[in-house]
C-alpha cells in the first residue's frame, strides 16, 4: 500500500531503530527488514533510509562497523547503542499513545459516517 510520503518521513528513523532491535544489520538488510516486517505494506524510497541511518549514527543512537566480504562489496553493519535503545523505548510508548488517540478519533468518525 502506498502511504503518504509525509507519514513515512516522520517514522523512518523509528522504523530503523525498531528493526535493529533484533540485532545488527547492514543497509540493504534494513530496507528489506522494514519491507518484510510491515507485510510488504510500507513502500518507500530505499534511498531515504541512508540519510536517516547517518543521522542516527551522528546522534549516537547507532554505531557501525565495516565487515569485509569475499567476492562482494564490504558491508557496513549498524547496531543500536544504549542511547538508541532508550530512544526506541520512548518512541514505542509515544507511538502507542499517539496511534491510540488517533484511533479513538477515527472510530468516532466511523460511527458518525455509519449513522449518517
Amino acid at each position: 500500500m502506498k502511504y503518504a510520503s509525509e507519514l513515512l518521513k516522520g517514522t523512518t528513523k523509528n522504523l530503523i531503530l525498531a528493526v535493529l532491535s533484533g540485532g545488527e544489520l547492514y543497509g540493504y538488510q534494513i530496507v528489506k527488514a522494514i519491507r518484510e516486517q510491515s507485510g510488504e505494506e510500507l513502500e518507500f524510497g530505499e534511498g531515504s533510509v541512508y540519510p536517516a541511518l547517518h543521522a542516527l549514527e551522528r546522534d549516537e543512537y547507532l554505531s557501525s562497523h565495516w565487515v569485509p566480504q569475499d567476492g562482494s562489496p564490504d558491508r557496513k553493519y549498524y547496531t543500536l547503542t544504549p542511547k538508541g535503545k532508550l530512544v526506541l523505548k520512548a518512541a514505542l510508548l509515544e507511538w502507542k499513545s499517539f496511534s491510540g488517540a488517533v484511533g479513538k478519533v477515527f472510530e468516532n468518525v466511523a460511527l458518525l459516517v455509519r449513522a449518517g
Binding site: 540493504y28 534511498g47 541512508y50 543521522a55 551522528r58 562489496p73 564490504d74
Partner: protein, 230 residues
C-alpha cells in the same frame, strides 16, 4: 569479485556527487555503502529471474529521488539538518568553504595590520646600512606573509577536500573584495567621492595571486604526502 553493472555504478556516483560533502573520507564511506546496497539488490533481483535491464529499472525506481537523497545526506553530514534554510544555502559546498577562507583572509589582513613591522625595521635594521633593500622587503612583506599563509591554507583546507573544490572556494572567497572594488568604482564614476583607489585594487590582485600560488603549492605537497602515506 563480481562488479556492478555500469549503469548502477553510475547511480552510485550520482548519489555520492549529490551528497558532495567534499570530505573524501565521507565520500568513500558513502560510495562503499551504496555499492553494497546496489550490489545486494542487483544480485537478489537477478536470482529472481529478472533481466539485467529490468533489474536496473527496478533498482533505480526503488531507490527513489536521487536528488533528494543526496541533499538529505549532505545536510546530515554537514550537521545542518535542523537548520534547513542555512543548509540549503550552503548546499553548494564551495560557498561554505569560501566563507571559511574569507574569515581566514580577514584574520591574516588584521594580523598584518597590527604587526609593528615599521618599528622592527627602524629599530634594528635601519642601523645596519642595508636600508634600501629592507624598505623594499618591508613593502612586500604582506605579500610574503600571504604567500606562506596560502601554503598553510592549501595544506589545512586540502584535508578531506578535492582540488577543484578548494580552488573554486578560494576564488569565491575573494568575491566580497571584488564587490567592494566594484561599488567603489561605481562610486568613483558617478558620485566622484574618490573611494576607488586603483593601487589598492592592484595590491589586492597581487595578494590574491601570491596567496593563490601558495595555496596551490600547499595543495600539491599535501596530495604528494597523502599519496606517499597510501
Amino acid at each position: 569479485m563480481k562488479t556492478l553493472s555500469p549503469k548502477l555504478l553510475l547511480l552510485v556516483e550520482q548519489v555520492v556527487k549529490r551528497a558532495q560533502s567534499g570530505n573524501e573520507e565521507q565520500a568513500d564511506d558513502l560510495r562503499r555503502e551504496m555499492l553494497s546496497h546496489f550490489f545486494e539488490e542487483e544480485r537478489e533481483l537477478l536470482l529472481q529471474g529478472h533481466s539485467q535491464k529490468e533489474v536496473i529499472s527496478m533498482v533505480t525506481q526503488r531507490f527513489g529521488d536521487i536528488e533528494e537523497v543526496g541533499k538529505q545526506l549532505y545536510m546530515v553530514q554537514r550537521r545542518f539538518e535542523h537548520l534547513p534554510l542555512i543548509g540549503s544555502l550552503l548546499y553548494y559546498r564551495p560557498v561554505l568553504m569560501a566563507v571559511k577562507l574569507f574569515f581566514v583572509h580577514l584574520l591574516l589582513f588584521f594580523l598584518i595590520a597590527i604587526v609593528p613591522i615599521d618599528y622592527f625595521f627602524d629599530r634594528f635594521l635601519g642601523k645596519v646600512g642595508v636600508w634600501d633593500f629592507f624598505v623594499q622587503f618591508q613593502n612586500s612583506f604582506p605579500v610574503f606573509i600571504l604567500f606562506f599563509a596560502g601554503i598553510g591554507e592549501g595544506v589545512v583546507f586540502a584535508k578531506g577536500s578535492n582540488c577543484k573544490l578548494l580552488i573554486e572556494a578560494f576564488i569565491l572567497s575573494y568575491v566580497p573584495i571584488l564587490f567592494f572594488v566594484f561599488f567603489s568604482l561605481l562610486d568613483d564614476l558617478f558620485m566622484k567621492r574618490g573611494f576607488f583607489d586603483a593601487s589598492t585594487f592592484l595590491v589586492f590582485l597581487c595578494i590574491a595571486f601570491f596567496q593563490g600560488l601558495g595555496l596551490l603549492i600547499g595543495l600539491y605537497f599535501y596530495k604528494k604526502l597523502r599519496e606517499k602515506k597510501k
